[in-house]
Amino acid sequence: MLKYIIRRLFMLIPVLIGVSILTFSLIHLIPGDPARSMLGDKASEAQLENLRVELGLNDPYIIQYGRFVGNILQGDLGESIQSKEDITIEMASKLPATVELTIFAMILAMSVGIFAGVIAAVKQYSWFDNLSMTGALFGVSLPIFWLGLMMIWLFSVTLNILPPSGRISSGIELHTITNFYLLDSILTGNWTAFKDVFQHLLMPGVALGTIPMAIIARMTRSSMLEVMNQDYIRTADAKGLKKHLIVFQHALKNAFLPVLTVIGLQFGLLLGGAVLTETIFSWPGVGRYVYLAVMGRDYPIVQSTILIIATIFVLVNLLTDLLYKYFDPRIRYD
C-alpha cells in the first residue's frame, strides 16, 4: 500500500510539471504591464523599466520559468507586485479561509447529498424521490453567483439574519491557531466566535455547496439504484437480512465508490466556484485573491495561486483514488 502511494505520488510529477508549464505560459500571455500596476499611473517610463529589470521580466521565458519553479520548490511563492507582500505569508491566511469554506461546503454537500440520494433510491418514484431529484436538478442548473446574491438579498437585506460578507465580525476576538476559524473557536472554547463564524460560513457554504450537493445526490441515487439491482443485494435479501442493513451496509458501501470519485472531482468545482462565491461574499480567501490578481495582473500571485489550487486538486483526486482502492478490496496494489 505504501509502495503504491509512493508510486502514485511519483506519477504526479509529470502532471505537475505540465501544470506548472501551462500556468506559467498562460499567465505570461496576459497583456498589460505588471510594472505599471505596481508603480501606478504617475511613474515614468524609466522607473517602469528599472522595475522590469529588477523583476526579471525581460529575461527569456525559459529562464523565468526556471526561476519560477526553482523558487516554488524552495517554498518561495514570490512577492506580490502590487502589495510587495510575501505571497507565501498571504497564502497562510487565505488558503485556510478557502479550505475551510470548501470543506464546509463539501461536508454540507456530502451529508445532504448522500442522504437524499440514498433515500430517493430506496424509495424510488416516491414523493421524496421526486422532490429531492427535482431539487437536485434545480441545484445543478442554478448560477451560484445569482444564488449567492439572492441569498444576500433575502437573508441579509430583507430578513437581516445572516451577515452578508466576511469570515468573522469585526468586534469578535478570536485567537487564531490554525487559521481555520471554526476549528480555532472550538479549540479556544470561544463559543461566541463559533456562532459568529458559523453564521458567516452558512451562506457562502450553501452557495458553494449547492451544485456539488445536487450532483452527489444524483450520483448517489443512480449508483444506489444500480447497486440495488445487483445480484448480491438479491442474495442479501434472500438471506433475510434487515432492510436497513441491506441498504446502509451492503448497498451503500458499494454505491459509495463511484460517488467518491465524483466527490473528488467536485472539489475542483468547489475550488473554481470559490472564485465566484468569495467575490460575492467578500470571503478573504484564495479565490478572491486570484481573481483580484487577475484583474490587476499581479503575475506572481496568479501563477502561484493557480499552481497551488491545481496541486491541491490533483492531490485531492489522488486521495479519493487511494480511498477508492482502500474501500474496494477488488483492487490490488500491483
Partner: protein, 303 residues
C-alpha cells in the same frame, strides 16, 4: 392427433416492404418515443424550443428596443409597460432578456462546438489508436483537468482579453477534457466489442472501423454530453460575464445584466432577479433534456 406440419405462419414474415422500410428508422424513433414519454425531458425540450423560438422571433416578442434608454425611468419595478421592470439605464429588462436568448444560444453552440470537435477528435484518436498516442493525449487531458474549470476559464479569458467571443472560446476549451474522456472511454469499450472484431475479420480498414462502427456507437454519450454541455457552457459563460470577463456592454447577456444590476440589489432586486431566473431556466431546460436523453439512449435501459 394431427401431425400436419406447422400451419401457423411466422408472424414476422408477413411481407410488407413498406412497413419494413418505415421500421428502419425505428432505432431513433424508439429513442425519441422514450424521450417524449418522459415528462421531465418534455419540459426540458419545451424550454429549449421556447428558447429557440424566442431567439428567432425576438424582435416580435420584445416590447421595447434593447438599447433605448430612459434614464429618468431607471429601476422601475415590473409593470404593465415594463413586464420585468427597467434597469439602471431605464432599459426594458424583458426585452433585453428576450434578446439575450440569442447570445445564450450563440454561447451554447460555439462553446460546445469547440469542446465537441476538439474533444471528440482527441478522445477518438486516443481511444482507438491507444499506445503512446493515447498516453500523450491523456496526459495532456490530465493536465487540463488539474485546473478547476472556472479557474482555467478565468485564466484563459485573462490571457485572451475579456469579450464574449473569448469567453466562449475559454468555456469551449475548458469543456474539452470532458468530451475527450467520455468519448475515449466509449471508444475503448466499443473497440472491444465483437462487432468491431467482426468488422476487422471482414477486412475493414481502421478508418472504416472508426467511422462506421466505433463512432456511431459512441454517439449516445456524445449527444448527452453535448446537451448537458450547452447548459454548463451557458452557466460558465454567464459566470465569466458576471466577473466582467465575458460579454461587454451594451450586449444583453444575462450574466452581465445580473452583474450590472448588483449595485441595486437592495432597491431594485428584480434587475438581478430576472436575468438570473432566465439563466436558471435555460440551463435547467438543457439539463432536463440531457437527462431525458441519457435515460432514453442508455443501452442498459434498452431491454
Amino acid at each position: 392427433m394431427s401431425l400436419q406440419p406447422n400451419p401457423i405462419p411466422d408472424p414476422n414474415s408477413i411481407p410488407n416492404e413498406e412497413v419494413e422500410k418505415l421500421k428502419s428508422n425505428r432505432m431513433w424513433v424508439d429513442s425519441l418515443l422514450r424521450i417524449i414519454k418522459s415528462k421531465t425531458s418534455i419540459i426540458g425540450l419545451c424550454i429549449i424550443v421556447i428558447l429557440l423560438l424566442t431567439a428567432i422571433f425576438a424582435p416580435l416578442i420584445a416590447t421595447h428596443s434593447i438599447t433605448d434608454q430612459n434614464i429618468v425611468n431607471r429601476y422601475q419595478p415590473p409593470s404593465a409597460e415594463h413586464f420585468l421592470g427597467t434597469d439602471e439605464l431605464g432599459r426594458d429588462i424583458f426585452s433585453r432578456i428576450v434578446f439575450g436568448t440569442r447570445i445564450s444560444i450563440q454561447i451554447g453552440v460555439i462553446a460546445v462546438g469547440i469542446s465537441l470537435i476538439i474533444g471528440v477528435t482527441l478522445g477518438c484518436v486516443a481511444g482507438f489508436f491507444g499506445r503512446w498516442i493515447d498516453l500523450i493525449i491523456m496526459r495532456f487531458i490530465d493536465i487540463m483537468m488539474a485546473f478547476p474549470s472556472i479557474l482555467l476559464a478565468i485564466a484563459l479569458v485573462a490571457v485572451l482579453g475579456g469579450s464574449l467571443t473569448n469567453a466562449m472560446i475559454a468555456v469551449g476549451i475548458v469543456g474539452i477534457p470532458q468530451f475527450a474522456r467520455i468519448v475515449r472511454s466509449a471508444v475503448l469499450s466499443v473497440k472491444e466489442t465483437e462487432y468491431v472484431e467482426a468488422a476487422r475479420a471482414i477486412g475493414a480498414r481502421n478508418g472504416r472501423i472508426l467511422m462506421q462502427h466505433v463512432l456511431p456507437n459512441c454517439l449516445a454519450p456524445i449527444i448527452v454530453q453535448t446537451t448537458l454541455g450547452v447548459g454548463t457552457a451557458i452557466l460558465d459563460a454567464a459566470g465569466l460575464s458576471f466577473l466582467g470577463l465575458g460579454a461587454q456592454a451594451p450586449a444583453p447577456e444575462w450574466g452581465a445584466m445580473l452583474s450590472d444590476g448588483r449595485a441595486a440589489l437592495q432597491n431594485a432586486p428584480w434587475v438581478v432577479g430576472f436575468p438570473g431566473i432566465a439563466i436558471f431556466l435555460v440551463v435547467l431546460g438543457f439539463n432536463l433534456f440531457g437527462d431525458g436523453l441519457r435515460d432514453a439512449l442508455d443501452p442498459r435501459l434498452k431491454k
